[in-house]
Structures are given as structure tokens and as C-alpha cells.
């Protein structure tokens, strides 16, 4: 283990380390802490510049209720869910199929096709912006929920396929080989042999894609216009304009937007980290 375990440096060092940890964490999360404190303050504190002091009044419930009653926050949150969930389902499903094909079969274009998915995953969004927007306008998908999740699903399929293909490739090939010798049909091998084995990968991808898409801001701006189809990230920006200098309300809205991915991360932490690191490192 590197660095050397702190315990080997003696009791004092261990104690000092454990005492310093929360301090370091506090400094690291200071911005978040400050915004949380702001979100439970009253307007008076904001105007008098009371940032770190004890709140002169606790307005937590009032502030969060105000966000919902004075703005479209509820619609935005619902839209985010309606965009994110179908994206996860479609992109992971497509990637299971494509990843299986690219990992198991040996055909000439397997590697180039795989690289196409990998490359597509790294391109700047701007190179897609004009054609995708134009296409959405032409097909009536502009400013709709479906227009957004279809695009996200297609784009995330690149990352998911990269991940799935590497995951399936690492499975023991004998399993598939012996099933073939037994005369099992190809799609049955996929369904009964491979799919149960890739469950951890599906979980990892689901949390990752959920977070990526939930936090998207660029496409929300490109593909929506009004309030009806806006997700929470774009919504929070709109709120920021609406609640000028009402920082207690802006903070409350921001934290609301952050809660679902944070929850997702805490509930599925192991899968999340496995996804972030394994997908790329192999």
C-alpha cells in the first residue's frame, strides 16, 4: 500500500490524520456548504451579506416551497426524469446488442466499427449541433421531450457500446463456444448466457448515463425553446434570471437539481465508480 499506512507512524500521527480529515473535507466542500446555508436563510440575511454566520431565521421549508410555487421547477424536474429514463433504457439496450456483436464475433470490420463508437463518444457537441437541431425542427421533434431523449440515447450509445464490448470481451469465451457446440441459437446465447453475466455492467452504465444526461445543459439549450420540454438544468438557469439576487431561492433550486444524481451516486456508489474507471481503463 502506498503511501505507508498512517497507523505505522504511531498513535499521534493517526490521531492527527483523523482530526485533519473532517477539516480538509470541510474546506473541499465549502462552496456546497455555503450554498446549503444560503438556501435555508431568509432574504434579510442575503441582503446584509451574512454568508457564514448563523442564519438569523430558518426559512428552509419556505424557500423550497417558494421555488415550486413561484416557478416551473416541478415541470422542469418531471421533464428531466422523462428525458433521462428513456435515454438510459434505449442506450443501454442498444449497447448490449452492439457490444455483444463486437466482442463475440470475429469479422473484418469489427474493430473499425468499435473505434467508430469510441471516437463518436469524444467529439465536441458543437460539430453535431446545427444538423441535429435542423433535423429536429424538420421532423417536429424540436422542443419536445422525445427529441431530447432520442438524441441523448443515440449519443450515449457510443460510450455504452465501448463499455459493454470491453466487458463482454473479458468474459470467458468458452461459455459461448460450448453453447454453440450444443447447438444453441445465437440470440438465445445472448439472452440466456451473456445477458445475465453483464448485469453489473448494465447497473454501472445505468447510473452513469443517468448522471450524464441529467446534468446535460448544452442540448437542453439547443433542442428546447419554451418551458414545456425544458429539463431542470436549463430550468435552473431560467430561475436564476427570474430570481435576480434572491440567492436563497437560486440556491434552493440548484440543490434541488443536484439531489437526484447525488442520490443515485450514493445508492449505487460501487457501480458508479466501477463504470467511471473500468469503462475507460478496461
Amino acid at each position: 500500500m502506498f503511501p505507508r499506512p498512517i497507523q505505522s507512524a504511531g498513535r499521534t500521527a493517526t490521531f492527527a490524520y483523523q482530526a485533519f480529515l473532517p477539516v480538509a473535507l470541510l474546506i473541499w466542500l465549502l462552496p456546497l456548504l455555503a450554498i446549503f446555508l444560503t438556501s435555508i436563510r431568509g432574504a434579510a440575511d442575503i441582503n446584509s451579506g451574512n454568508v457564514f454566520g448563523w442564519p438569523s431565521e430558518f426559512q428552509m421549508a419556505a424557500n423550497y416551497v417558494a421555488v415550486f410555487t413561484q416557478s416551473e421547477a416541478a415541470t422542469y424536474l418531471l421533464n428531466s426524469v422523462l428525458i433521462t429514463v428513456p435515454t438510459v433504457i434505449i442506450s443501454v439496450a442498444l449497447a448490449c446488442l452492439a457490444g455483444y456483436a463486437l466482442a463475440i464475433y470475429r469479422f473484418r470490420v469489427a474493430v473499425p466499427l468499435f473505434f467508430l463508437f469510441v471516437a463518436g463518444n469524444f467529439i465536441p457537441f458543437q460539430i453535431l449541433m446545427v444538423p441535429v437541431r435542423d433535423m429536429s425542427v424538420q421532423t417536429g421533434l424540436y422542443d419536445t421531450i422525445a427529441g431530447q431523449f432520442l438524441f441523448h440515447a443515440a449519443f450515449q450509445t457510443g460510450f455504452c457500446t465501448l463499455f459493454m464490448r470491453n466487458f463482454i470481451k473479458a468474459l470467458p469465451f468458452d461459455l459461448i463456444e460450448s453453447a454453440r457446440i450444443e447447438g444453441v441459437k445465437e440470440w438465445k446465447i445472448f439472452w440466456y448466457v451473456v445477458l445475465p453475466l453483464v448485469r453489473p455492467a448494465i447497473a454501472a452504465l445505468a447510473v452513469l448515463i443517468f448522471t450524464f444526461v441529467w446534468n446535460d445543459f448544452f442540448w437542453a439549450n439547443v433542442l428546447t425553446q419554451g418551458e414545456t420540454a425544458k429539463p431542470i438544468t436549463a430550468g435552473v438557469r431560467a430561475l436564476n434570471g427570474q430570481f435576480v439576487n434572491n440567492w436563497h431561492l437560486v440556491s434552493a433550486a440548484s440543490l434541488l437539481a443536484a439531489i437526484p444524481p447525488v442520490l443515485m451516486f450514493f445508492l449505487m456508489q460501487r457501480h458508479f465508480i466501477a463504470g467511471l474507471t473500468l469503462g475507460a481503463v478496461k
Binding site: Y17, A24, A95
Partner: protein
């Protein structure tokens, strides 16, 4: 007669099963990916040779006008383009700090004391939050009147005086810096905000890497008297190479993709001083003064070509690994 061809077709299917099956599995993903990702790339490059406001005539034909390389010539003489490009370079260079700082925090946290798991995940927190929220938090942080920077400045440089009536006034030795309104500071302010989640990302990559460092090599190093920096440099870092590679790749891509923070914190201002290519392209293509799809596409093409260098490098590395594998 038709009965005779059916079994024949079926047996052809069966004989070529292993050649056909992969395509059946691939087609949905490939089709989807082609329509939304692959084809638009070429469309964008093609569009960058036109001047177009995104409108169509009544008969459905596009109003785009062929201008050849004109958009690129204009780009060359566009000071805003050069400012954006310069800022992109700045982002790229300063964003790289996330890699060593992330490694530093990972080394600090790589201990086994009670509650360590919770600490690690709390340190990772900033990455999970949307960049929009991070941008808003830091925008408020930097706000000279209501924010943290203003408060700290007051503590350091201001004297509080209470007059007879009880009104509090501040006498300050200077004005509070308004970071995001200062063309010289604004970009650094945004990059600092962007570094926060990026450091968390690099940290988690290194924490996972440190988990997999071979302990026998560390022990062997210790026996040979290596410790501290020498141990880190000669024994640990070489084993962390995959983590470093990914950390650099995601940081480069993050830096070139930076859009959210700029859109939230300054919208490219003041006076275009914080623009980067990604944001300038968006601003140009969809602006209040009418859409300029052709010019926007030209900016996007330049950004794409820059990114292509990194993508090619990444693919080349992957190809080397593939050849080594099965």
C-alpha cells in the same frame, strides 16, 4: 414451388449464421448512431462552406448559399475567434492541474481508517453535481456584494465603524474585486470553478489505480530503501500509468468541451474575454441577431479538428492494446 425455396433460404441462413448474426445485433445501434452522430459530423463540415440562416423556402428547399472557404477566411480575421482559441489553450493548460492535484488528494485519502469510504465518496461529490449548479455556486461565491469573496475581502481590508445612530459603515482600503466582471480575471475564475469537479474525477481514477498497485513491488522498493518522492516517482507512478492516461484524456476533453460554466457564469463576457470555441460557436449559430449556421459550423469544424488530434491518439493507443490482446 415456393416451398422449395424456403428451406433453401433457411439453410443459407444457417450456413452463414456466424456472418449474419453480428449485423442483426449491430443494426439498431449503428443506425441510431449514424443518424444522430456520424452523418451530422459530415453535414456540419459541408455546411461550413455555406452561408445559411437556417430557413427554408416555401417549396422546402434550403436558402443556403455556397461561399466556399469564405467562412474560414472570415474566421482568420475574426478577433473573437482568436480570443476564444487563446482561452481554449488557457483552459487546456490550467485544467491539467486537475491531474496532479487529484493524485495528491488520492494519496492523502488512500488510508484505512474508520469511515474512510464515506470520506472518499464525499470528496468525489463535486463531480456528481451538474456543472450548471457548480457554475451558479461559484458565480455567487465570486459575487462582490453577496458572495464569499466579498465577505473575505471585508474581513481583511475593511474597518467596521458604528456611528452614533447605530448604522454600520465600512471603510475599506480598496474596492472589492469583481472577478467575473474583470476581463483579466474572469477566465481564471471560471477555470478555478471548473477545476473543482475535474479534480474530484481525477482523484477517483487515482484512488482506483492505487488500489491495484502491486504491494510486493512496494515492499521490495521499501527493502531497497526507496521512500517518499522516489518511491512515488519510480515505483508507484509507473504502475498508475493507465489511470494517468485516462485522467489526461478526460481532462483534455473536459477542457475543450467547457461550455456550461461559461454559459452560466459570464456568457462569454465581459467583452467576449471569457469565450471559448464551444461557447462562441453556440453564440454565433443561435444568436438573438439571427442564426448563422454556416459560420457556426466553421467554428465547430475547427474545434472538431483540434479534438481529432486527441481522438486519433487515443484510438492509436487502443489499437496497440487490441493487437496485444486476443
Amino acid at each position: 414451388m415456393s416451398d422449395a425455396t424456403a428451406p433453401q433460404a433457411a439453410s443459407w441462413m444457417r450456413r452463414n449464421k456466424l456472418a449474419i448474426a453480428p449485423w442483426l445485433f449491430l443494426i439498431p445501434a449503428l443506425l441510431f448512431f449514424a443518424v444522430y452522430v456520424v452523418i451530422p459530423i459530415f453535414e456540419s463540415i459541408w455546411l461550413s462552406l455555406f452561408e445559411w440562416n437556417g430557413l427554408y423556402r416555401a417549396d422546402g428547399s434550403s436558402t443556403a448559399v455556397w461561399v466556399g472557404l469564405d467562412n474560414y477566411v472570415k474566421l482568420w480575421d475574426d478577433p473573437k475567434f482568436w480570443t476564444s482559441l487563446k482561452n481554449n489553450v488557457l483552459w487546456l493548460l490550467l485544467y491539467m492541474l486537475a491531474v496532479p492535484v487529484g493524485l495528491g488528494i488520492a494519496l492523502f485519502l488512500n488510508q484505512k481508517t474508520p469511515g474512510m469510504r464515506i470520506y472518499k465518496s464525499l470528496f468525489f461529490f463535486p463531480f456528481v453535481i451538474s456543472q450548471v449548479v457548480v457554475g451558479l455556486i461559484f458565480g455567487w461565491f465570486y459575487n462582490p456584494d453577496f458572495g464569499v469573496v466579498g465577505q473575505i475581502f471585508k474581513w481583511l481590508y475593511c474597518e467596521e465603524t458604528v456611528n452614533i445612530v447605530g448604522n454600520v459603515t465600512f471603510k475599506c482600503s480598496g474596492t472589492v474585486p469583481d472577478i467575473l466582471s474583470n476581463p483579466d480575471l474572469a477566465t481564471y475564475g471560471i477555470i478555478a470553478a471548473g477545476l473543482w469537479p475535474q479534480i474530484a474525477y481525477c482523484m477517483i481514477l487515482y484512488l482506483t489505480g492505487l488500489n491495484n498497485v502491486a504491494s510486493d513491488q512496494i515492499e521490495a522498493g521499501r527493502l531497497d530503501g526507496a521512500k517518499g518522492w522516489r518511491m512515488l516517482w519510480f515505483i508507484v507512478l509507473p504502475q498508475l500509468r493507465p489511470a494517468t492516461f485516462i485522467a489526461v484524456v478526460v481532462t483534455v476533453i473536459g477542457a475543450l468541451r467547457s461550455f456550461d460554466m461559461i454559459a452560466i457564469m459570464t456568457q462569454g463576457g465581459p467583452f467576449g474575454s471569457t469565450n471559448v470555441l464551444a461557447h462562441y460557436m453556440f453564440e454565433t449559430a443561435i444568436s438573438e441577431y439571427g442564426e448563422r449556421y454556416g459560420y457556426g459550423s466553421a467554428i465547430a469544424t475547427v474545434l472538431f479538428l483540434i479534438m481529432l488530434v486527441y481522438i486519433s491518439y487515443f484510438l492509436w493507443r487502443m489499437y496497440q492494446d487490441e493487437k496485444g490482446g486476443r
